[in-house]
């Protein structure tokens, strides 16, 4: 993109000014991305699939790439008037790279058949799964989300309260800390056989496991956050007439929040792992179960589709947690590298 600007730099000055402006750069970037996706669409449709393969969704993949190209082009042009769309400029190198990746993938699978089947299906096979098996996939996503959300929120809440308690009260610290030290490091999945036996349903057992996996890091980090609060903050509040309740709620907890969020992020990461394991081994629904089921049928395209959806779900949740942190901890912006 910069080379385009450089080429024009020798031209008349007003043009340089125009092309160097953010509006022009965003337009060029968007159109370049659109052109690349259009080229991918052309490649998919005009280069016939390898003989005696029967990919039903090749035309649909072409349509998808073409639609994306049109959307990007429209977005780039609209960006001239709507400043909000210009931020897409930052994404355009990635959009181009993604198009090239899809083209390469399509070439080595559907077009040339270099990679062995059924382990490496072409992109259209995955599109086929997403479209044809959408009902089951949606059910699985909802089941996974339900399980994860319940377990995670429960674990985070219990972990937070426990962490504050042992950070604040000596008595709580005396009794809970050793238990936490002893049992906490045990991987939550080690409880799996016991949990499925003790709990009335595999669903409640999985909630317990996810909550356990989330609770440990949240507890430890909340605790260290509360214990590490500058004692001068308490002195100030005490001379201003604060009671114990105020010291906990308005001093200790807000001061510990940055630590709590580290715990929440760690907990979210481990909860994903436990979710998938629990679904693979016990629960008869969810994306983990779908993966297992797809493997049983050697349906590799289904597996890739499920993995893709799972990645979207997990990264979406992490992003959501980042947003929450940005809202609650915006005061940190000038203090730490954000």
């Amino acid at each position: 993109m910069s080379s385009v600007v450089d080429e024009v730099a020798s031209g008349p000055k007003p043009v340089v000014g125009l092309l160097a402006s953010p509006v022009a750069r965003s337009l060029i970037g968007g159109l370049a991305a659109a052109a690349t996706w259009l080229a991918v669409a052309v490649l998919i449709t005009y280069w016939p699939d390898k003989p005696d393969s029967d990919w039903a969704y090749t035309d649909d993949l072409t349509a998808l790439c073409g639609a994306l190209a049109i959307a990007l082009a429209l977005g780039a042009v609209a960006g001239v008037w709507f400043a909000g769309l210009q931020r897409v400029r930052r994404a355009s190198p990635w959009l181009i790279a993604l198009a090239l990746y899809v083209a390469a993938w399509e070439t080595v699978t559907a077009k040339l058949g270099l990679l062995p089947l059924p382990f490496f299906p072409p992109p259209q096979a995955i599109l086929e799964v997403v479209v044809d098996d959408r009902t089951r996939l949606v059910t699985c996503v909802l089941a996974s989300f339900h399980l994860l959300a319940t377990g995670y929120l429960l674990g985070a809440a219990v972990g937070f309260v426990t962490g504050v308690a042992i950070g604040w009260s000596r008595l709580a610290n005396y009794w809970i800390h050793p238990v936490l030290r002893f049992i906490g490091p045990l991987p939550a999945t080690a409880w799996l056989p016991l949990a499925f036996f003790v709990f009335p349903s595999s669903f409640s057992a999985s909630i317990f496991l996810i909550a356990l996996a989330t609770g440990f890091p949240v507890t430890v980090l909340t605790w260290s956050g509360v214990a590490g609060v500058n004692s001068a903050y308490y002195d100030i509040a005490r001379t201003l007439g604060a009671n114990q309740r105020f010291l906990v709620l308005k001093v200790a907890i807000p001061a510990a929040m940055p630590h709590v969020f580290v715990g929440l992020f760690m907990g979210l990461g481990t909860s994903f792992a436990v979710l998938v394991v629990a679904e693979m081994l016990g629960v008869k629904a969810g994306l983990g179960w779908y993966l297992q089921w797809a493997q049983g049928w050697a349906a590799y395209a289904n597996m890739y589709a499920a993995l893709l959806i799972m990645a979207l779900l997990c990264s979406g949740l992490i992003t959501l947690l980042f947003r929450l942190r940005d809202r609650l901890l915006s005061w940190q912006k000038g203090l730490v590298r954000w």
Partner: protein
């Protein structure tokens, strides 16, 4: 120092504003820390009476226990021996009428300037009824334009002004100043010394200042108490009757400074 009389009838020692400040009596106070099983005495039988609306400075070498004495007055710690009284009542714990401004402003980084100043009212459940006091305190320290700023966006002087407003919003009758200007650059420091004096004159509280800056003590206080090395004992008491507003170049201040240096054993360098 005038004795007795009801507080409402009394006038400020240096102007005619009504005095709302309290008396403070420190009686035979000794204190020691427990340092790995070894007792470390820091205060040795300190006795001191401070009258209503007085401005008293405690001056002493660094590490002599001045700040410890202030923590006892604030009620943050209890003395090992002896007792402290405010208005004849023994100090048993912190109270919002005795507010400390520490050397480090220690603002809560997660609260805005407004939120920091609101702290005392919030802690006592007075936020809803006395909201306007926050505005007033911020006006008093000249920070009206920074209500929504976060502490990290403030300069050192502005942070310390915020800390001062946070104390003043509680309408203290005894303001405890623990080297409040110690971390400021010399220009800001001089400005704020003047501001402290006019605040004290207007609000009529009793002020107890700890400092190791001789000039600051003499410029601000009506009485300077000189403390010895640890364990601290009172070695001298210098009354500074110079009327306010004072001028730094006043020959009387220079004279007093000489006297103070002599008490600190530093007159050889004079």
């Amino acid at each position: 120092m005038v004795v007795a009389a009801a507080p409402s009838e009394r006038a400020h020692p240096v102007n005619n504003n009504p005095v709302r400040g309290t008396t403070l009596t420190i009686r035979e106070v000794s204190h020691r820390f427990d340092l790995e099983g070894q007792p470390l005495p820091v205060l040795d039988r300190i006795s001191l009476r401070i009258g209503r609306g007085e401005f008293v400075a405690l001056l002493g070498p660094s590490g002599c226990g001045k700040s410890t004495l202030l923590r006892l007055v604030a009620g943050l710690d209890s003395p090992s021996a002896g007792s402290l009284f405010v208005e004849g009542e023994e100090i048993e714990g912190p109270d919002p009428s005795r507010v400390v401004v520490f050397q480090d402003p220690t603002l809560y980084p997660w609260r805005t300037v407004w939120g920091n100043v609101a702290l005392g009212l919030e802690a006592r459940g007075l936020l809803r009824t006395h909201r306007e006091r926050i505005e007033a305190a911020l006006r008093l320290v000249g920070l009206t334009g920074f209500i929504n700023a976060y502490p990290h966006q403030l300069s050192g002087g502005m942070s310390q002004r915020t800390a001062l407003a946070r104390a003043l919003v509680n309408d203290p009758t005894l303001l405890i100043l623990d080297e409040p200007l110690g971390q400021l650059d010399s220009l800001t420091r001089i400005t704020m010394q003047g501001e402290l004096v006019s605040l004290w004159q207007r609000a009529g509280f009793t002020a107890l200042l700890v400092t190791h800056d001789v000039e600051e003590a003499l410029f601000l206080a009506g009485r300077v108490i000189v403390l010895s090395e640890r364990p601290a004992q009172i070695t001298a008491e210098i009354v500074n009757s110079l009327p306010y507003p004072r001028h730094r170049g006043d020959p009387y201040l220079a004279e007093l400074r000489h006297e103070v240096f002599a008490h600190l054993g530093l007159d050889a360098t004079w």
